[in-house]
């Protein structure tokens, strides 16, 4: 199993009451509440904590980005990935992910990622995402072409990484005269690509068709099993059998020496009123054209208050009871994680460990216990269940590099 440490890098040093008074903590919530001196302190503390996670044994550091909101300070995931490429030695640098539709120049993105791969000496995992609705609005990118831009940018990055230049690209959303960047990835055929997601069935199917691992972001156990079913079916249709190496799972976990302290800090996972991406108008998260037309009717009803949030709004206690949040001493956490791992069988696991306003001392103690005690125990347990990560399974980076496709076997017979 591949075990990663993750934090949203919360900008916790702002007046939370101001967000409640305004009624939103995203997109239009004024950045006058952002204090760059506190930002400087937090960026540096988060960086030190990533280095600690490596020292205590994490396999990977998972990074992401968001815009216009206090819940995540990373505005460009490649920045922290670049820093980690230089200051860490062993961990995989797992970007989950770069929001492809936001880029106007996928070739430059491919170039930046190649630089990170070389500087890190081949430790990059380059995930891609569509980016949430708010990210499109914050960056002025048309949400109605989000999926088209995701697909086309992916194809252009992949080609830039694998086909010697120069070549020309005349697509629908991207046109490039001379694709020939003098930086290409060190890892061959190209760095592993993992695709994180929450609920879009189209993305799960596309991911399976590429043979990329799909990382379920703290979905319920039931929803995670449905994702696996959708993925398995799409994988079978293109000729391979999906295994644990095709699945990842991100879960919120907080560990301390006492259960009481762990629970108290874990409540900080609710600091954005229980919403991962802040308190927001539903049309910001899901602007017209962003989501599948099949969800249109349900969404307009929810967004106008005529139907409940399809994701629900469970309390902290409920989320702990449902294993959506795990908190406790190392032994307690190991027991709950073993249950989760048995149920969801991931080869890749992201542990979202510190959120909101947890003190520096407690964040660090959490990382020590998590990476030093919990992760090794879960990796050992995962091995007994045959939960191999993509490296252990020697999985192909993309479907096109498969040597075991059903149709190929038939052709060979």
């Amino acid at each position: 199993m591949h075990m990663m440490y993750f934090t949203e890098q919360p900008m916790s040093a702002y007046d939370a009451q101001a967000g409640l008074d305004y009624g939103a903590t995203a997109l239009t919530f004024s950045n006058s509440h952002f204090d760059p001196n506190e930002g400087s302190r937090l960026y540096n503390e988060y960086l030190e904590e990533y280095i600690m996670a490596e020292e205590y044994g994490a396999d990977g550091i998972m990074l992401n980005e968001h815009h216009n909101a206090p819940f995540c300070m990373q505005a460009r995931t490649n920045m922290f990935a670049s820093i980690l490429a230089a200051v860490t030695k062993r961990v995989k640098i797992v970007i989950l992910g770069n929001p492809l539709p936001l880029t106007e120049n996928p070739v430059q993105l491919a170039e930046e990622l190649a630089m990170i791969d070389m500087i890190s000496k081949g430790r990059l995992v380059s995930g891609f995402v569509r980016g949430g609705g708010q990210e499109q609005l914050a960056n002025g990118v048309n949400p109605a072409f989000n999926r088209e831009r995701f697909m086309e940018a992916h194809d252009l990055v992949q080609k830039t990484w694998t086909q010697p230049g120069p070549f020309r690209w005349e697509g629908t959303h991207y046109q490039q005269r001379v694709v020939n960047p003098w930086a290409i990835p060190m890892q061959k055929p190209y760095p592993r690509v993992w695709i994180p997601g929450v609920l879009s069935k189209e993305t799960v199917i596309w991911t399976a068709q590429q043979r990329y691992p799909y990382i379920a972001l703290n979905t319920s156990i039931e929803a995670t099993k449905q994702i696996h079913e959708t993925y398995d079916k799409a994988a079978a249709e293109v000729g391979y059998t999906a295994g644990p190496e095709n699945f990842g799972y991100l879960i919120r976990v907080h560990v301390q020496d006492t259960e009481e302290k762990a629970m108290e800090n874990a409540r900080q996972f609710m600091w954005m009123q229980g919403e991962f991406t802040g308190l927001a108008n539903p049309v910001w998260a899901n602007p017209a054209g962003y989501f599948s037309p099949s969800g249109r009717r349900a969404f307009v009803e929810f967004s106008t208050g005529r139907a409940k949030n399809p994701r629900g709004n469970p309390t902290f206690e409920q989320q702990v009871a449902d294993t959506m949040i795990i908190a406790g001493t190392p032994d307690q956490v190991i027991e709950r994680l073993k249950y989760l791992v048995r149920e969801t069988r991931p080869g890749i696991m992201g542990i979202w460990a510190n959120d909101g306003n947890v003190s520096k001392e407690d964040r660090r103690r959490c990382i020590q216990l998590l990476c030093g005690e919990v992760m090794p125990a879960i990796k050992e347990y995962g091995a007994t269940l045959g939960l191999n990560d993509p490296w252990e399974a020697n999985a192909p980076v993309h479907l096109r590099y498969s040597t075991d496709l059903a149709s190929q076997k038939v052709a060979a017979e």
Binding site: G140, N142, A144, N281, V283, A288, G289, R296, F299, V300
Partner: protein, 260 residues
């Protein structure tokens, strides 16, 4: 006299375009807002008393199919020029409402001698004065956006009542089409103002005095760009003048289009 309206489907540019037609007299093409149009309106009936009124659903809006390749109001203008050619109508006048006003202005700029008259009502398409903006529907809810286009909320309720879920869905589709055709710059063209000087059709610019969607300064810019254009401001009226002040707008339009 009650107007008989006929709904037909025309094949234009590879898609099925929905067209409602009623009345008799000189032809008038009415181009609806970014939020689409309800099927029947007193304003449409009033026009049909005097004119042969053509009301298409924009491609991708309402009952018209979406051309996946469609990217701008200028594309829609070309589709409507094609529609008028297929219908073999000539001497057509254009009434453009809001976003439809932008399309009407594009049509006139592309064929400066083709149209009899031009009526633009709260038309998008031109950048307002410095510091003013066309309201961004992307960051407000489905109901708040159309509501903000009425001076008097009671007028909104008269048309949409409690707002059906079908209507909400139609607004989401309309919003998606607005994004597909007018995302950036949002709801205006940087080239259109430079292309209106050749338009021969007499133009009437009508604006609600409380238009909170397209600022009045955009109307003044139209009046400057279109040679000899007249401008009228309707009191106690928002952006959706044809729904909020149907009698006043119908009188203005009919008088303007009927003058010799």
């Amino acid at each position: 006299m009650s107007i008989v309206w006929t709904d037909t489907v025309k094949q234009i540019a590879g898609v099925e375009l929905h067209l409602t037609r009623g009345g008799s007299g000189p032809a008038v093409l009415v181009l609806h807002h970014d939020i689409g149009s309800v099927d029947r309106l007193p304003f449409y009936d009033a026009l049909a008393e005097k004119f042969d009124v053509l009301i298409p659903h924009h491609p991708g809006w309402g009952k018209s199919q979406r051309p996946q390749w469609l990217r701008s109001p200028r594309d829609i203008a070309a589709i409507y020029a094609w529609l008028l050619a297929d219908l073999e109508v000539s001497g057509v006048s254009l009434i453009g409402l809001g976003f439809g006003g932008w399309i009407a202005a594009e049509m006139a700029s592309l064929a400066p001698r083709d149209y009899t008259a031009l009526v633009l009502v709260g038309a998008a398409g031109i950048k307002p004065d410095e510091g003013e903006y066309i309201a961004d529907q992307a960051i407000v809810s489905y109901i708040d956006y159309p509501k903000s286009g009425f001076h008097d909320e009671a007028a909104f309720a008269r048309i949409y009542g409690g707002v059906s879920t079908d209507q909400l869905e139609a607004w989401d589709i309309a919003r998606e089409m607005s994004f597909r055709t007018a995302w950036k710059p949002y709801m205006y063209s940087q080239t259109l103002p430079h292309l209106l000087g050749g338009v021969r059709a007499p133009a009437l610019i009508v604006w609600g005095d409380d238009d909170r969607i397209v600022p009045l300064s955009a109307g003044r810019a139209y009046a400057r760009a279109l040679p000899g254009a007249a401008m009228t401001v309707v009191p106690d009226c928002g952006h959706f003048a044809e729904m909020e002040k149907p009698d006043a707008l119908a009188k203005l339009a009919i008088d303007f289009l009927s003058r010799k």
